[in-house]
């Protein structure tokens, strides 16, 4: 038995040694291999908010932001520089909300959180996607919490395999061509999509749901609110684009959701969610991606909400 345990420990040590070796090879030899995709647009966003002086508007959330916002319009109307930090929903709201921690908050910053649900299990939904996003960029590892490490470690061998594959063959499913909407070059300096698909989404029963409000998610958002406050900034919750048409649930259900959100949130909810009902024809994709006109409509509503909030608070 002792011999068996010794051999198992030796095997584990050897395996760990190969793991360290793989990490070193990955870091020093393979390097970042996903620099051309949608996820890599995060690097440009970080660069932007670091280069901005004074107070900023920082948009935090999932892909309804980069694929549904006109940040330039928001910047002009509000007179403050804007960075759209929204990213792929597959990363999970916890990961996306953590983007605040990358932005080195300053006094007077306005952080706007726009999620399409406030009910999640506080996990990274797709650890592979998270690895593709953070790669070996040291500053992005701040987004990973201790509890996320198991999922990340589990996804790592697959990520490493893809990186090796791409390095030697230049083939990877995760790296789209330069011309698609999911490449880094498809986004402008604010972090908004510029090169959209030409499409109108066909809605169907169930494609518009009522968001949930979960305790786990709200606890995290309230913690985030404290973090933001401590740095002299403010966290606000704003609406997200809701498809409006034949398959949209009754408005009373959205009102009930909003009421529950306001009750459980320690930060201010500046929007009435029913103001963000946008006809189906303005969605080119979901969740909940708008065409250019739709993005303008949504941005105008956000500007209204922000101005109203400013009137009352500043």
């Amino acid at each position: 038995m002792v011999q068996f345990i010794k051999k198992i420990l030796l095997f584990l040590m050897l395996f760990f040694a190969t793991f360290v070796l793989v990490l070193l090879v990955d870091y020093f030899f393979v390097g970042n291999q996903h620099l051309g995709n949608y996820q890599a647009s995060l690097l440009d966003k970080i660069e932007r908010f670091r280069s901005l002086e004074g107070s900023r508007i920082i948009l935090i959330g999932n892909s309804n932001l980069p694929f549904g916002m006109n940040s330039e319009m928001l910047e002009k109307e509000m007179g403050m520089p804007v960075v759209n930090m929204g990213l792929h929903g597959g990363l999970g709201s916890a990961f996306n909300s953590n983007m605040v921690k990358l932005s080195e908050l300053r006094e007077g910053d306005i952080v706007i959180l726009s999620l399409h649900t406030y009910d999640d299990n506080d996990e990274i939904e797709d650890p592979s996607l998270a690895l593709i996003t953070i790669e070996k960029h040291k500053e992005l590892w701040k987004l990973v919490r201790f509890k996320d490490l198991y999922g990340i470690a589990k996804a790592y061998p697959d990520y490493f395999k893809d990186c090796i594959m791409y390095k030697f063959t230049k083939y990877d499913d995760n790296i789209p061509e330069e011309t698609t909407s999911y490449s880094r070059s498809a986004f402008n300096k604010y972090g908004d999509i510029e090169r959209r698909f030409e499409n109108t989404f066909q809605f169907y029963p169930g494609s518009v749901g009522i968001p949930g409000v979960g305790d786990v998610c709200m606890e995290r958002i309230n913690e985030l609110n404290k973090y933001v406050k401590e740095r002299g900034a403010v966290l606000l919750i704003a609406g997200y684009p809701i498809g409006y048409g034949e398959y949209t649930p009754p408005l009373s259900e959205f009102e009930a959701f909003e009421k529950e959100l306001v009750e459980k949130s320690e930060c201010e909810v500046i929007s009435h969610f029913t103001d963000y009902l946008i006809p189906y024809e303005f969605f080119y994709d979901t969740k909940y991606h708008l065409n250019a006109q739709g993005a303008d409509m949504r941005t105008m509503q956000l500007i209204k909400d922000l101005k109203k909030w400013k009137e009352h608070n500043m």
Binding site: M1, Q3, F4, K7, F11, L14, F15, T18, V22, D126, P127, S128, Y150, K154, A155, P157, D158, F160, K161, M165, T169, Y171, D173
Partner: protein
């Protein structure tokens, strides 16, 4: 609890450690507790069914042994069979028979609504039910003595490595091992770990990856090309083999850690040169069960040729039905029975050699893949659609172009490479124990192989979901 879950990764070392610390006479208690915990972590309430089946078969065996006269013995045996099979029938087959009966009546213009039960199929019910039945029959036949200690018997029925998907163990093999004096055997335990690693490779790298292609092929038959359908079918054969034999390897390997040897369940089935031979290499524990408790009692082969073929066909139809409550499985079973009858007419008892052996091998592979259409399809009409489209495409080679399953992607290439590795492993396994052969190599070489295998499993398994084993549904 799934073998391929973190929970099992914690559970197994704890049970293993405590098992070898405990004195021999208490070990079965730990195994029993661990086995019930293992099962209850799936759905606690269904443990009642195992308990009920166990208690009925335990008492039945004691009574069968107690009574001297055959009439009483038979009555007790039949009662036990009715209870055990009755539970299986209610949970697995009731809806199928109810709906089939209504369909048949509708042919005679009698319109009825089928009575159906909203029950979840308990994991492993077919496996442990068959194990209990074999025990009672063995006691009835006088082949084994009834176990007096209920706890030890319950451990035999619920032994967690083989509880949910076999191998379906025989009393003579497993029951004495539960309580036998055991000393930790380093060679046996390390062999178990290596076998488990190989099982995980088959399950996580081959079965789970091919599953994606198979699901797409069967979900989108209409839009698939001939090549897609052909690949979908071959991949399904690989999937089902790797899924089930992978599970068996993990089960056998786990049992070895506890000093218990379970029976072999697969022996390179794709190197068979007849369907009959294939069934001595594929799901061996089930094949043996049907041979001993259905085929031979029906008369086996010691009767007229016609009766023998009837016995064979009935056995395989029942074997098909055992796999699932669906006509597709019955057809699949029937095809396997018929093929063996046809083989007997064509080959007789000749030993095939050379080119004839090669063609027989090809015949088995082609036949097996065709039957897999029925095994995988959700209905007869889906199977016919799949088969029709596939064979239609075979006639028109142009329909093989433009694959839609993503067969040109690197993942598929990796998959084909690992299928080749499996093929080579199985080829050599026909004559030698490959794991033992590797164990005898120089430490640097064998440890490189082991570490590489772990890395391959980690790198190529689907990263997000933990998938169930296909045979859990049976």
């Amino acid at each position: 609890m799934l073998f391929n879950s973190l929970k099992y990764g914690v559970f197994l070392p704890i049970v293993f450690g405590v098992y070898w610390v405990l004195p021999n006479k208490f070990r079965w208690i730990l195994l029993l507790a661990a086995s019930y915990y293992f099962y209850m972590s799936w759905n606690p309430k269904y443990v009642v069914l195992i308990f009920l089946t166990t208690i009925v078969s335990y008492l039945a065996a004691l009574l069968v042994e107690k009574y001297e006269d055959k009439k009483h013995k038979k009555l007790i045996l039949v009662t036990a069979l009715i209870v055990c099979l009755g539970i299986l029938f209610v949970f697995k087959y009731f809806n199928f028979f109810s709906e089939t009966a209504v369909s048949i009546l509708s042919i005679f213009s009698i319109r009825l609504n089928p009575v159906t039960l909203k029950l979840v199929l308990p994991v492993g019910i077919s496996f442990y039910t068959f194990q209990t039945i074999s025990y009672v029959i063995d006691v009835y036949r006088g082949d084994v003595k009834a176990e007096r200690n209920f706890g030890i018997y319950a451990t035999f029925i619920s032994f967690f490595p083989q509880l949910v998907a076999g191998p379906i163990e025989r009393t003579r093999n497993l029951l004495p091992q539960i309580t036998s004096e055991k000393k930790f055997d380093y060679t046996s335990a390390t062999y178990g770990l290596k076998l488990m690693a190989w099982g995980f490779f088959k399950k996580l790298v081959l079965a789970d990856v091919t599953a994606g292609y198979v699901d797409t092929a069967f979900l989108t038959i209409e839009s698939c090309t001939g090549l897609d359908l052909l690949a979908g079918l071959v991949f399904f054969s690989v999937q089902i083999y790797c899924d089930f034999s992978g599970y068996s390897d993990i089960a056998i390997g786990t049992a070895r850690l506890f000093g218990i040897e379970l029976m072999q369940n697969f022996r390179s089935p794709f190197f068979s040169t007849s369907v009959k031979e294939l069934w001595t290499r594929w799901h061996i524990s089930l094949s043996n069960w049907f041979r001993d408790y259905v085929y031979i009692p029906l008369g086996g082969s010691r009767c007229s040729r016609c009766r023998k073929h009837f016995n064979l066909l009935v056995t395989f139809l029942l074997s098909g039905l055992w796999h699932g409550a669906n006509l597709t499985y019955v057809v699949w079973g029937g095809m396997n029975g018929l093929a063996q009858i046809i083989e007997e007419y064509i080959f007789g008892k000749k030993v095939l050699k050379g080119i004839r052996k090669f063609f027989s091998w090809i015949w088995v592979l082609v036949f097996w893949n065709i039957t897999m259409i029925f095994f995988r399809a959700e209905s007869i009409s889906q199977a016919l659609l799949y088969g029709g489209k596939l064979f239609g495409a075979l006639r028109y080679p142009s329909q093989f172009r433009q694959t839609t399953l993503g067969l040109d992607k690197p993942d598929c290439m990796y998959c084909l490479f690992f299928m080749l590795v499996l093929f080579i492993f199985d080829y050599f396994s026909v004559k030698t124990d490959v794991i033992k052969w590797i164990s005898e190599k120089k430490p640097v070489l064998k440890w490189t192989v082991y570490i590489l295998l772990i890395w391959v499993i980690l790198a190529f398994m689907p990263p997000v979901n933990t998938s169930e084993f296909v045979y859990f549904q049976f």
